[in-house]
Amino acid sequence: MRLTMQMKLGVVAAGLGLWIGALPASAHHSFAAEYDEKKPVKVTGIVSKVEWTNPHSRMYLNVKDANGKVTVWNFEFGSPNHLFRAGWNRNTVKEGDQITVEGWGAKDGSHLAQTRQVILADGRKVPGFASGGESGGAPTQ
């Protein structure tokens, strides 16, 4: 896949870890009420399902541990509206892809997390939430 100059810029920025510390915009509910910023999550697995739905896109990941036991993780993303405006499309992540997802775990201890970024199989890093731009200066929430 040929990257445009702007996309390279995005990849460079993500690669530099510039998203760290910026909790995602969530129009719909309080981040702190559902997720714990002190519970970082980073797992690699196979995408079993992608839901382009509102209020959040979701990607379900089959994650295998050292004993071969598979756990299904539910990763919350920005709405498809936000993601597509930010440059995502339906081919960015597809069922069957192996990806690594970084995010913050749910306070209730379930295998649920809000996504900070995805590391695609080719190494590109893509933010899971888009803040700014589409919300026109509304505070990051």
Partner: protein
């Protein structure tokens, strides 16, 4: 070139700008920033039509207080606000945001000679209807307490003044739970300063919850190359089952 490139990235990051957000493909839906004078309709009225980004903070309305303004709750409203829990926020439950709350998604003004419609992409895919044909408010007997109230608009020079009454008391002003009663009365002033800028100031009057009126404001930006997208909040709303008390 490389250094300039790196500097751009650093500056963008420092400003909190989503660099990936600039990576929208050519011809995509990325935001634009039009410039030029405020347009007018053939009848000379300001033309407010267009897709906008921006609104009050959906998390805390006090962030948008105008200079010198204060939010002073009545004791009953203060108690109610302290009792509220995030899982009960109507917005998190895919109910309408009411007025003046807006989800941080695009919205569109559709202006006709007799009506102005505000079309919301989110939080629910709904609309407000504002009568600008000179009619008074709908008589109380002919309406019931509603999420968006009964809105009539008039022109004050180049400013559209929207007066709204008839609200229900079910929506929250923000995720913090700032409350209101069915005595709520809002007066919104919409002024298109230039092609790309809409300034909105809202007076909140609710003697049932606040000891005095207060004003909040924000600046929205027109995005001439974007369009509304579908947003059906209730189709996959898993959040409320995972939200835990207490308030953040």
């Amino acid at each position: 070139m490389r250094i300039r490139f790196a500097c751009l990235v650093m500056i963008a990051s420092a400003l909190g700008v989503s660099v990936w957000a600039q990576a929208a493909p050519k011809g995509g839906r990325g935001p634009s920033a039009p410039t030029g004078p405020a347009p007018r309709l053939p009848d000379g009225k300001p033309d407010l039509n267009g897709l906008l980004n921006g609104g009050l903070s959906s998390q805390d309305i006090s962030l948008n207080l105008m200079a010198g303004e204060q939010i002073v709750l009545t004791p009953a409203a203060d108690k109610l606000m302290k009792e509220r829990r995030p899982k009960d926020d109507p917005e998190a439950n895919c109910l309408p945001a009411g007025v003046p709350r807006m989800a941080p998604y695009p919205w569109r003004i559709v202006q006709q000679a007799t009506h102005v419609f505000i079309l919301f992409e989110a939080n629910i895919h709904s609309y407000r209807q504002i009568f600008i044909d000179g009619r008074p408010h709908t008589p109380e007997a002919n309406r019931w307490p509603s999420w968006y109230g009964d809105s009539v608009g008039t022109w004050d020079g180049d400013t559209l003044v929207v007066d709204t009454i008839g609200f229900n008391d079910r929506f929250w002003f923000d995720a913090k739970g700032h409350p209101h009663t069915d005595q709520l009365h809002t007066i919104e002033r919409y002024t298109r300063k230039d092609l790309g800028t809409l300034v909105v100031e809202t007076t909140i009057i609710d003697p049932g919850s606040y000891t005095k009126p207060f004003k909040v404001g924000y600046t929205a930006r027109y995005a001439l190359k974007d369009d509304l997208m579908e947003y059906i909040c209730a189709e996959n709303n898993q959040d409320v089952t995972h939200i835990t008390p207490p308030l953040p």
